[in-house]
């Protein structure tokens, strides 16, 4: 699908712009085939799709861990590539939470959070593990914010699944991010914990004026929390909707009701 994006490249409001992006893990199969996205600054953007639809690949492209085989991506006007020095600086403020969370198991919760501050430390300070006082205070403040007070000295392998997610969020917030990328951060969690975590991100997003791009498996959660939802199926964006309360605006086929969207999503899930 080669959709022409409806944005101008000089628009200051667009923080992420993907134009006709194709990518593959091997030479034969495309993980993404011609996806275009345009995300406004401060948006809570959700990407929904089944397993293997290419939604995690989208996040990896945004933080430069992968490069597209065709098409262009701009993150705040820069092309993501983790080997590029200029973009590496930008990575300091892109919070990325992979599905596996990527916590360092054998260090404490506080140390995991402090990892987010590493780009602000000199090599010597990092080797000697001498974090400035204000960074430690900030880490403790975030620790409290995510509801983990009193657990700072616990090793990361000793805490529960929900707590691990909070640590991963805290590490990302410690980066003082402008963009937050989270890959199925609440999947496999019970409804109550999932909502607590989502509320936490929503709260942080508003306070820090973050642009959050979250990959979800669950359409209900995406519709509940996001301003925009893109649906990815087999590497293509098949739908992009704006959400305002219970009103949904479809940018491709006109307005749809939540029931219609859900029905469509459920049908996809059954396939």
């Amino acid at each position: 699908m080669t959709e022409t994006p409806s944005f101008s490249l000089i628009s200051t409001n667009k923080i992420i712009q993907m134009n006709d992006v194709w990518t593959s893990y091997d030479s034969k199969n495309f993980a993404l085939s011609g996806v275009s996205l345009s995300i406004d600054r401060g948006t809570n953007y959700a990407i929904v799709g089944q397993s293997g639809s290419g939604k995690s690949t989208l996040l990896k492209l945004m933080n430069g861990m992968m490069t597209p085989s065709k098409g262009t991506i701009k993150m705040d006007y820069q092309t993501p590539n983790m080997n590029n020095k200029t973009f590496k600086k930008m990575m300091h403020t892109i919070g990325y939470i992979p599905q596996s969370l990527g916590l360092v198991k054998n260090i404490s919760v506080l140390d995991n959070i402090l990892i987010g501050a590493l780009p602000r430390l000199s090599t010597m300070q990092s080797i000697l593990k001498q974090f400035p006082k204000h960074e430690i205070q900030e880490a403790k403040r975030i620790l409290k914010l995510v509801g983990l007070s009193g657990k700072e000295s616990r090793k990361a392998y000793m805490i529960s699944g929900g707590e691990k997610r909070r640590v991963a969020i805290a590490r990302a917030l410690m980066q003082k991010p402008t963009i937050l990328l989270a890959d199925e951060i609440v999947s496999e969690l019970d409804h109550v914990t999932a909502r607590e975590i989502m509320d936490l991100i929503l709260d942080a997003q508003k306070k820090m004026n973050l642009t959050a791009i979250m990959v979800h498996h669950d359409m209900t959660l995406a519709l509940e929390y996001a301003n925009r939802v893109a649906v990815i199926k087999e590497g293509e964006k098949i739908l992009e909707i704006g959400v305002e309360g219970d009103k949904i605006v479809d940018f491709q086929t006109g307005d749809m009701s939540i029931e219609e969207i859900m029905e469509m999503h459920n049908n996809d899930a059954k396939e």
Partner: protein
């Protein structure tokens, strides 16, 4: 058992027989040699000489202490030099242009057994324990780095990717992800290396590189089997003790932390 497996087994058995013939490894000769062992044992257990040999226990203990110190210095310095090299040799941390030459260098170092390193250093720095220490350093560098870069390569890639995505430096990645995640393995390997080095250092004296082996080889040369046996007994007890201690340390601090990773989520 598939026919293919049978063929492989037949080939291996065939090769062992051919090779044994080539090196004159005849089981009959072994059986015939057993009585010679009896002669040595009989010489060792002459009561008078046994009592006489007890005088040499302090010498044996001092020689063993020297051996332990050599092994200790060699292991520590070998690890200090080896650890950065293993970081350079790990494929998940470096490009091919860095890890390939490092691995080649380490492979060359590993080619020589410690006794050959000891010979080389005896020529360089003269007879004595210093040559032995240098030999152990070289052997440790070659051996421990291989164990360590292999452990580093088995680290879970998730935290590596997540932390790399923050744009941290290589030093920071090593300090905050690689070392903590592989620490239990690395420590286990260092303990194993020390354990192994004590055994090795015990024989370096054969080429004049100090330690208890120097005494053992000389007693054997002069047919003083009783003294040689007593010195060997000291080595045996020391090695067993170190083995026991390192098992305890591994159980208490290392295995526990590895199991810790499996603690179930609440």
């Amino acid at each position: 058992m598939t026919p293919k497996n049978n063929i492989v087994i037949a080939i291996i058995v065939g090769l062992v027989i051919v090779a044994s013939y080539n090196v004159d490894a005849n089981p009959v000769d072994f059986a015939e040699g057993i009585p010679n062992l009896g002669v040595i044992v009989a010489e060792i257990f002459v009561l008078e000489s046994l009592i006489d040999d007890l005088k040499y226990i302090p010498t044996a203990l001092w020689a063993m202490l020297e051996t332990l110190q050599m092994a200790f210095i060699g292991t520590v310095i070998g690890v200090v030099i080896g650890l950065p090299l293993s970081m350079l040799a790990a494929r998940n941390l470096n490009s091919k242009f860095v890890y390939a030459p490092t691995r080649a260098l380490l492979a060359v170092i590993r080619t020589f057994p410690s006794i050959l390193w000891a010979l080389l250093f005896v020529i360089m720095v003269g007879l004595g324990p210093y040559a032995g220490v240098l030999a152990i350093v070289m052997y440790t560098i070659g051996f421990v780095t291989k164990l360590q870069y292999e452990s580093i390569e088995t680290i879970d890639s998730d935290p590596m990717d997540a932390v790399s995505s923050i744009g941290v430096s290589k030093f920071q990645l090593i300090r905050y992800v690689v070392l903590p995640e592989s620490a239990s393995h690395l420590l286990g390997q260092i303990l194993y290396m020390f354990d192994y080095n004590v055994r090795q250092t015990s024989i370096l004296g054969i080429v004049g590189a100090g330690g208890i082996g120097f005494f053992i080889i000389n007693y054997i040369k002069f047919f003083e089997y009783g003294k040689a046996a007593m010195f060997m007994l000291v080595v045996l007890i020391t090695v067993l003790a170190i083995d026991w201690i390192s098992v305890k340390v591994r159980d208490k601090y290392i295995i526990k932390s590895q199991h810790g990773m499996d603690v179930k989520s609440k």
